[in-house]
Amino acid sequence: MKAYQEKAQALDALMFEKTTEYEIGRRHLANMMGEDPETFTDEDIDTAIEYLFPSGLFEPRARPLMKHPTEVFARKKVAEFDETGRPFHVLFYTGLPNYYQVLHDLSEKVRELDSFSDRMMQYNIHKDPERTLNVGGTEWVKKEQLEDILLEKLKDKQYEFFVRSMNRLLDHPFSYRVEEFIMKFRKHVQISVIHKEIPKLMFTAEGTPYMAAVGRRKTSTASVTVYGRGSGKISINGEDLLYFKYIQDREQVLFPLQFSGLLGKVDVVADVDGGGFSGQSGAIRYAISMAVRSFVDEQMMEKMRLAGLLTRDPRRHERKKPGWKGARAKYTWKKR
């Protein structure tokens, strides 16, 4: 117990020392940068370090940094009991005092909200729809993050129970009254869908709208121009659609037009090079799909994306390996 206390005191002393160093460092940096030391924030420190120690390293975590000791040193649970050995926390003997404290608080809050809603019912006041707690764009903290908050290692089942209980609290009609408590355990989600800029239609001298695009498949490259107000003429390398002798290749070329309903309404002029007939038809199909995006509304574009028209097919020819029959196929295996 003594050793434990000494450890706790040592940690406290370390933190104190580091914090004073940090503050002195802050004042030095402010002087170096010519700023007022009193109003030098943590963000200003980051900018100053980046300026004074420029780094060409790619990994951000490898670059020089100066952060407050609480961010640098992992928080540890210390001083859980006094010199007599009496624990400070009521729930110390559960083994996970912080975790069970959170659950206890949760159940208290649920009781509070229930009694509040009973009182409201007495006065015949119903739930105000405008005061609903909005948790859009957020999600519950993950298990690792919860462990960081509570400084306690949790099992999966305990985490799941925590999430279920919090959901019950969230579903309560008057959950807005405990917004602060709930938001402690909710994390904002980054919207990962990047909306690409769809190029706008261009116009020829006569006023015909057109769009050009390049498409690739295997080793073929196709550059295609789709002209609006057309009659369905398709020209590939100066020839008809019958440039492709096989019906599958012709269907590939026509698919984006047929899908978006532009078959017979636009003219297509394509130049394609490299590869064979299958790769060339795939390249033209992708190029036409990309060009057609400008002619078509968002709903249809989403449908095209779901149909796989706007995905560049990344498959390439896989090399044959020595000792194997092909890229993956092996020679017949003989037991003896």
């Binding site: 609006g228 019906i247 026509l254 047929q258 978006s260 532009l262 078959l263 002619f295 078509v296 709903q299």
Partner: protein, 401 residues
């Protein structure tokens, strides 16, 4: 293909209401009457037919319409060749032989009607890409010629004699020449079947004596049909009979006793440099040494009157190495160009919008295209796009639907 056609047409139109600016205005007038109405898909689609079954009476008003070639006429004229095999199978399925009236055939017929027969024969050469309708245009023109009392010298598909011959023997009469015994017999039967009526009425006679062997002789002044029948019964002399027949016909035509129409499908095969027949020294024989080739080539000259030559040049009639272009000068080579020059080239092209409507209507009418989406606007556009309006490709696509 059926998957593509099953989309709901109303859905597709409501989906891209924002693109109305890009839709071309519907042409009002002639084309409008062909288009099946979107608002009432329950209307039954019927083939646009005409009752004018005589090609001589057909005019530009009938463009795109279908006329019926009666079974007995079809058998008489084309029983031994003339109608392309795939088309013939289709006609058997549809239980009728119907042809679409198209511009190239009508133009040629019009020119033939206006021909001055006192001058050397006009030569009309139909040319175009593969599968565009040259052979069927020739069928249409042959029908007209037979109705108009022309004596037909009809070569159904010339390359058959150069590379698909049944048998070749060295000629007994002229050294260095080669005969087609069996093919010549078939052609003479074909000639007889096409022209039997006309030969009876014209009563053409031979101008000189033909000695086939010690015992078989045809005297001068005998009816021409005797030579034909001799050739049919004696395969050994059949090629020489063809030579005799063509020489006699040329003389008769020049002396204004009859008018002769030479119809040849794949005429460029006459000017190819090799055939499939191998000689003893392992070289391939030049087809100009074939008796029947020489017989017909004398009709391609300009030194006779009262005649007309209607032919088609087809890249498929050439040997594989010389098929890059479909244009007459390339396909005929120097020799053919000089022989046939001057000629009138007539381009046969893919279906235009009107003809595209007509052919789909015909297939739907014959229950060949049974998917309800086939006759819809989207369906038609898909068929037009996939086949690129090429008649042969369209036929092949529809065969599998």
């Amino acid at each position: 293909m059926a998957r593509l056609l099953s989309r709901n047409i109303f859905q597709s139109f409501s989906d891209f209401g924002g693109c109305s600016a890009l839709v071309r205005n519907v042409a009002v007038g002639r084309e409008a009457r062909w288009w099946s109405n979107e608002a009432s898909p329950a209307v039954k689609v019927t083939a646009p037919r005409t009752s004018l079954n005589q090609p001589g009476l057909q005019t530009e008003e009938q463009l795109g319409l279908w006329y019926t070639l009666e079974q007995d006429i079809a058998k008489q004229l084309f029983g031994l060749g003339g109608i392309p095999k795939q088309f013939a199978t289709q006609c058997k399925t549809f239980a009728e032989t119907c042809l679409m009236i198209r511009k190239p055939a009508l133009t040629t017929i019009d020119y033939i009607k206006k021909t001055n027969l006192a001058l050397p024969p006009n030569k009309f050469i139909l040319y175009g890409r593969e599968g565009v309708g040259k052979s069927l245009s020739l069928v249409h023109i042959t029908h007209f010629l037979s109705q108009d009392n022309w004596l037909l010298v009809h070569i159904p598909w010339a390359p058959r004699w150069r590379r698909g011959f049944k048998e070749i023997t060295a000629s007994a009469t002229v050294p260095g020449r080669y005969d087609h015994p069996l093919d010549a017999v078939i052609w003479l039967q074909h000639f007889k079947s096409q022209n039997s009526q006309l030969l009876k009425t014209l009563q053409l006679e031979t101008s000189e004596e033909y000695k086939w062997s010690r015992r078989e002789v045809t005297e001068a002044g005998a009816p021409l049909i005797d030579i034909v029948e001799l050739g049919i019964s004696r395969a050994r002399f059949a090629s020489d009979c063809i030579m005799a027949v063509t020489t006699e016909l040329k003389k008769h035509a020049t002396h204004q006793r009859c008018k002769i129409a030479v119809v040849a499908d794949g005429i460029n095969t006459f000017f190819c440099l090799t055939s499939r027949y191998r000689l003893e020294d392992l070289t391939y024989l030049n087809p100009e040494n074939f008796t029947i080739f020489q017989a017909f080539m004398q009709l391609f000259n300009n030194n006779w009157r009262n005649g007309v030559v209607v032919a088609s040049v087809d890249s498929l009639a050439n040997d594989g190495a010389r098929r890059e272009s479909y244009l007459p000068r390339y396909l005929l080579r120097q020799k053919g160009w000089e022989t046939l020059d001057p000629f009138i080239p007539i381009l046969v092209s893919n279906y235009n919008e009107l003809e595209m409507q007509s052919i789909v209507d015909y297939y739907v009418d014959r229950n060949w295209l049974q998917n309800p989406g086939a006759s819809s606007d989207t369906g038609r556009r898909e068929l037009a796009g996939l086949s690129s309006c090429n008649p042969y490709t369209l036929m092949n696509i529809c065969n599998s639907l």
